[in-house]
Symmetry: C2
Subunit: 534 residues, 2 copies
Amino acid sequence: MISLRLLFLFGLTAVGLCAASTDKPVQKWDIFELELKGPAEGNPFIDVRISAVFTNGATTLEVPGFYDGDGVYRVRLMPTATGAWRYETKSNRWELTGQTGLFTVIPAAKGNHGPVRVRDTFHFAYADGTAFKPIGTTIYNWLDTPEEVQEQTLKSLAAAPFNKARMLLLPQTDSYRKKIAPSRWPFAGAPPRAWDFTRFNPEYFRHYEQRLAQLRDLGIEADLILFNPYGKPWGFDTMDAATDERYVRYVLARFGAYRNVWWSVANEFDFLRTKTMADWDRYGQLVQQADPFNHLRSIHNGALIYDHNKPWVTHVSMQNGAAVEESGRAEMYRGVYTKPIVYDEVKYEGDSAFRWGNLSGQEMVHRCWAGTVAGTYVGHGDYFYRDDTDTWTSFGGALQGQSGPRLALLRKILEDGPDHGIDPIDKWQDPRTAGQPGTYYLVYFGRETPTTWPFQIYKNGVADGQRYKVEVIDTWAMAVTPVEGEFVTKKKDGYHFIDAQGRSVAMPGRPGIALRIQRIGADGKPVKVSLPID
Amino acid sequence: MISLRLLFLFGLTAVGLCAASTDKPVQKWDIFELELKGPAEGNPFIDVRISAVFTNGATTLEVPGFYDGDGVYRVRLMPTATGAWRYETKSNRWELTGQTGLFTVIPAAKGNHGPVRVRDTFHFAYADGTAFKPIGTTIYNWLDTPEEVQEQTLKSLAAAPFNKARMLLLPQTDSYRKKIAPSRWPFAGAPPRAWDFTRFNPEYFRHYEQRLAQLRDLGIEADLILFNPYGKPWGFDTMDAATDERYVRYVLARFGAYRNVWWSVANEFDFLRTKTMADWDRYGQLVQQADPFNHLRSIHNGALIYDHNKPWVTHVSMQNGAAVEESGRAEMYRGVYTKPIVYDEVKYEGDSAFRWGNLSGQEMVHRCWAGTVAGTYVGHGDYFYRDDTDTWTSFGGALQGQSGPRLALLRKILEDGPDHGIDPIDKWQDPRTAGQPGTYYLVYFGRETPTTWPFQIYKNGVADGQRYKVEVIDTWAMAVTPVEGEFVTKKKDGYHFIDAQGRSVAMPGRPGIALRIQRIGADGKPVKVSLPID
């Protein structure tokens, strides 16, 4: 089992030869978990430090571990390469330190694409290179509901188009149906405020992990919100700095090996008045430093916009519904931040008396499309309040709104589109058009209701004689209708190309119409974008 | 003349008693100039360092001086307080060091409000507390034209509404009428590239100063652009770092005492490919450190947006015409930067074949209004190219466009408006409305053409029974028409107040219409905003 080559790679000593070997190989980007028995007396959450150094020769990572209760300690690795790996534990306790072992990482199975990373400045891809086009939703407190509601939420998600979900890690004030309080709490003690903030409740986190794994298996990224301003009755908004930091480190140690986690340092950070901008910057940097797997990191605003140019921020997580009312607005944060722009809250589809929860289904879909042709990503919310249930965006359960199937069409279109994502084609001039120059265009007309569209595309990447096929997309009726024939480019002026025969596209005269324009090759099939992957 | 109190204040020694006393008192925020004779041999620009420490007891400033040729050195103070001041020179030459003197600063005369500062986060005020509402224009190379054109430019400015003008310090490629090259150059040597970059041409700067003073006397702030990407034939874009820094320090030492200067580190900085982002940051910080008078500082972009959150930037100088096509866009940079947003380039009114210089007069005026109700400021440009002249925005001369008088109306409205400026009233909800809650509103309808407007204002600052008068402003026809009677507020719902009798305002059904809504007191006169000045 331990080959000479491995011996050479790891420089194993006689001690190393005694390393334990696990039987079950682990997939790349899956979780290798090391379980260790150690002290249960005292307060292990505070007293015991445990980590492990993992190496495959090329990559060496020190991964913090955590106490899981009952004298059990765990260290979890998300291995990033196949082949032989070795570990050695480090601890301030003799019984936990210096333990070594070997294990084998096998290739990722189908459906396991690894963690999501930023790619091409404004977009995302999984670690295996597969593009990731977020169609997110929000289910803040779905893990504070009765088990059957959680199961229903998973069923709803399985049937919905969402590949990212935002959720809180700390409970908020409201209880499900205004009466069922959470059955688990993150700290030892009892609600409302008899917490021992020096002791976590492992059961709370184990349950959360089970759900994270289920989301992962559904292909859903979990955008985990570490802090929120809604926990006043429980005192979660007034934990001191040491508790905050211990909490962040515990969460990262437990959840960091789940490939589908994203870290959202806070929701509506500016509404959490007990913390300063310097605190947020410190916690953001802490997350960056304490996560050996470098998951995506963001912070989400209320009324005050965070400085997303700070180096620890990997992508923008924006609340601003007005910004996606039209794509010219939505584009503006791209220029400011040169990072992916994710509009994680643009108001919710719903029937709320509040202005933040009363979008029509049409408006929800419109905002997602407006953001799309701005080269950004827009998240969904569903806020229909019923006597016998609660809203999706608060607690999950069943979706009530009408936007879901339309966002499924959008997701399909994005996934069929260029790997490099959708970027504005003629920035600050034509907010309707995005895609990849010379090959692929989406033109979205929003609230406009044209009955004809003279074929015209911006010059970048275009030359005379290119052939394009056009489809008319009704984003609400979910119809994609090919336009007969093809369009052949001819230079019009210093800026644009039109069809050589001056042809126009007949348009249905309704709002919410888009065009998909794809260049076709000699075989009549769409030409693929051939940019190098950065 | 030298009182005991002064002796006490300055801790004067016997040497101090020998200090020279100037005869002519200087106004606060005017220029006190110290002229010194020193060495003319060698290269005084490089070899000689000269500064003076000025103090009035409360404030002490070390102000760098400069060599003005012919053995003459000058140090210029913009005094910031009335009363007795003292100076003492410092130099690396014996004949220039240790010279002391006394002078008196008298109160500022009428029309002298001091330098402009940021106030109320998003706005500006002169040092004396008078609000400054920029209505800027651009005359990049007006000092590279024949003297009679420069005189014509000053006459045009005297008749125009502009209180700020952007201009380059270093000549650009194009010459006036494509044939008349500048008659003065900033460096010793000869065009195109036989420069001695270690020696400035004092005559160039003296001439520039004369024009700065004339602008000041016209009430115009000079937004001086230190670097630009247009000087390729002259090599001004490839000066080395030491030359750049010497140039910045020389300009600051010469011009810093002019109260009407603003520093714009660069125009279209990202088009100047010979410098990096780190260079711009360094030069911005240099300007901050080397200007004892702390004038406003900015940098202006081409296609790439600068990180205006950097501490040295006092206000945003933005090029983005698309952002002011509608006010919802224009507002967005406020949230990002929490500094005054000045859209210094939004394309120009003109007849250019290029898209950046072909706005109609109406569109130019529209963009200024759209920016205004977004709580931002918009600059003007005029780009009509004629055979017998050149464009205003390139070289000054005569204005050709139609927006000028309309911007005069806008300036009048702003100056009659709240001292604290115009801020969005219901951010991210109602992009049409700005002002100060409960007292003053501008509602701008842009391209909309309503024929009626049901009186409705957002709840902040509003209570039942407040009385408002309304005027209809036709921004293009320049008509301000009072609406008969008054409107009395009554709560409508959780967000808005309407008129108690449900009255509406009759609207003319044309584009470019605004409403001015002012709360009136028992005397029937507008209620003044009573916020504290920060």
